[in-house]
Subunit: 427 residues, 2 copies
């Protein structure tokens, strides 16, 4: 039986979940996988947590040397999150020939090439299934299940916090502020929620998934990002009446080798399989040129779901005889790497205008002049203060630059008070 | 670069799709996977098809010896379907040390142990991702993504033909006969549709998925099977008014090590992620004790989707240094393998009864006596011929045996004309 020594760096939520799964399933792995997996060292300073989880204090320290210099440890799992000290500890582990397993999407998306270089030096492996969509093996699917495909697009709901907030706003008509507050009370959102609600977390995951799917480095800083803090219950309700659900989507597309990547709130049709992914669930929808549409769905966070992916990587890593690396075709910064920044999409636009004959005609003329085709116009018959009314437009597929240009012109038209919402609509 | 010689047995729909994917992506596999994959031999007698696909006639024959004796062929892909000659050809290939890749769920579910024995003799591998849910890597997910879990349940929509028929009946109110006829016209159903509509195909797939998920052989003949030919548009509509969608589900559950497995029409709540899987799409929903709920969704059939899974297996197989076999814990026939046959489920029951005071009371008394708890009673106010009316019951979780016993008694009650429908309801 193959003996596998594991080190855990941190015993937080996911670290603790991983420890519990490894302990509970020790016999299962011997029986089903032929692996005798044991935790040989833990880096953690919170001894109360150590006791709570029943970890033998004799294998706990705060010194990474205890991991790097232990020849019986072959796999190092990191749960610190953030860049340092995770990066230094993992690079030292890799250079010592130890493979690493992590859920650290920020570190991985920002420093992948350095980690990969260290892995090559140490002939060790990089495993990060847990970094995207918790326990759902979406990375395994891309790498081991879609080899026959040129991936054409990825659309994901990859952040549970924002999906919980948008679901609450949609189902209960709660305001953004109230939904955020409730998410914080339930522990779904951090005290400082920026990483989630401003879309940073989603860009990390989209960077990782897109890089694997397109075999091209798609760096975080090349991903357009827009969070959900500007989203109003009003637009969610109007979109709902038009058959749309609002989601924070992480989208990337391979347009004949040119990559576009963006994270922003978007309306999708209620019939789209992503529309029914609600609450803290996550899902990734992909299109491959052979397989067509596929989607994977599950819990995107939590101690045991994410621990499940960490432990899956431990088992997977333990069975590899040769670790694979991604052949980066670019570093994302060079000129020969094409990124699209003028996105083509449909748009939902809400204006406040004076309810007066001729205003709609003037607006439509400007859209037409800028080659922005309109599929839907909705004018609410309720007239507000100062005789103003809402006018909603949904466009055909059009370039972002054309919409921006048209809206600039429209906002200076007589009778147009303000452009209140511009939300992309995805098929 | 590693050279991989492939043989294709049959150039039908999936065989042709596989050939086209391999030819189109030859450079992709060299670049992304470091594999030089070439089709070295094809077994096919239809030379018109050979020409249509542009296969070099020099590598086509009808003689399996041309494959078995070719030392440059390491992977044999089978597309005949059915048991023979597929079984003989594949066993000969395995014994000659060639790994096999197949979508043949009938062969695999019925003769897995023999194929595995031949694979061990030849030190070759068995790959059958394409046998379940077309291009969606559900087998890879179970084997390489859920190792940290004891799988608790599988619920799948694994047959596109029946899902197309039920979706049409549900959305358009079409009768079963008309929906079947349309499916046949569109090529979704065979002239003899029994393998699909009677649920055989789904039992093959459920056998394979359950065997992998529970690490216990779940043989086809131990799976309860009920097709969709008895389903009426009326019950679909009534179920719809109660918030349910009807699907042909392949269900297996691991109840503390005892396995239950069944294929039958079932109502599921509209909010369940499987409910929105419509038309020819397939999906598999699983629950693991660590990961919780996960679902995978995509096209269950077709030349390119299934070819995508075949080619994924070719690439995957080519990278293995040691082939894995499933450690069968039983052969499915021995006494120590526990199967549950008295299922616990909720039930939808429709009766025709005389619209007379007291009938409902008598029926309810019999249910109560048999410990069948009722959550919903629906009596339609339309009275039909002879003063009869429909009464619909939905039960709490109850044993099948209790329902059957109660219904036997109820059907002989005065005032009860007939028991018209008994449909299981899954959470």
């Amino acid at each position: 039986m193959k003996k596998i020594g594991v080190a855990l760096l941190g015993l937080g939520t996911v670290g603790g979940g991983t420890y519990r799964i490894l302990r509970k399933n020790h016999e299962l792995f011997r029986k089903n996988e032929g692996l005798d997996i044991n935790v040989l060292h833990v880096i953690e300073r919170n001894m109360k947590r150590v006791e709570e989880l029943g970890v033998d204090p004799a294998i706990v320290s705060e010194n990474i040397d205890d991991v790097v210099n232990n020849p019986d440890i072959s796999i190092v799992c990191e749960f610190f999150g953030g860049i340092e000290p995770a990066k230094t500890f993992l690079i030292r582990s890799l250079e010592a020939g130890k493979s690493i397993v992590t859920a650290n999407k920020e570190l991985f998306s920002k420093h992948w090439p350095e980690l990969e270089a260290a892995a090559k030096r140490g002939k060790a492996g990089l495993y990060f299934e847990a970094s995207c969509v918790g326990g759902v093996p979406v990375i395994r699917t891309i790498c081991e299940g879609m080899q026959a495909n040129t991936v054409l697009s990825i659309k994901g709901i990859v952040n549970g916090t924002t999906n919980y907030i948008l679901s609450a706003m949609s189902k209960e008509g709660t305001s953004y502020a109230d939904a955020l507050k409730k998410a914080q009370e339930l522990g779904y959102a951090e005290a400082n929620p920026s990483a989630d609600v401003d879309g940073f977390d989603a860009t990390y995951k989209l960077s990782i998934l897109s890089t694997l799917a397109y075999h091209k480095k798609v760096p975080v800083e090349r991903i357009y990002r827009e969070g959900i803090s500007g989203v109003s219950t009003k637009d969610i309700a109007i979109g709902g009446s038009l058959g749309y659900t609002l989601k924070l989507l992480a989208i990337s597309k391979n347009r004949n080798g040119k990559i576009e990547a963006r994270v922003h709130p978007a309306f999708i049709k209620n019939e789209h399989p992503l529309a029914s992914v609600s609450g803290s669930f996550n899902a990734v929808h992909m299109v491959g040129d052979s397989v067509g549409d596929i989607m994977m769905y599950g819990r995107g966070a939590g101690d045991l779901p994410t621990g499940s992916a960490i432990v899956s990587d431990i088992v997977y890593c333990a069975k590899q005889t040769k670790h694979a690396y991604l052949p980066f075709k670019n570093d994302g910064s060079s000129r020969d790497c094409d990124f699209i920044t003028d996105f083509e999409s449909k748009y939902y636009i809400r204006l406040t205008a004076v309810d007066k004959c001729g205003t709609l005609g003037k607006i439509s003329t400007v859209f037409g002049k800028n080659r922005v085709g309109i599929t839907t116009v909705l004018q609410k018959d309720t007239v507000g203060e100062n005789g103003t009314t809402d006018i909603i437009f949904v466009t055909h597929d059009t370039f972002e630059s054309a919409v921006r240009k048209a809206l600039k012109e429209i906002s200076s038209l007589e009778g147009v008070k303000s452009v209140d919402a511009v939300i992309r609509v995805e098929d």
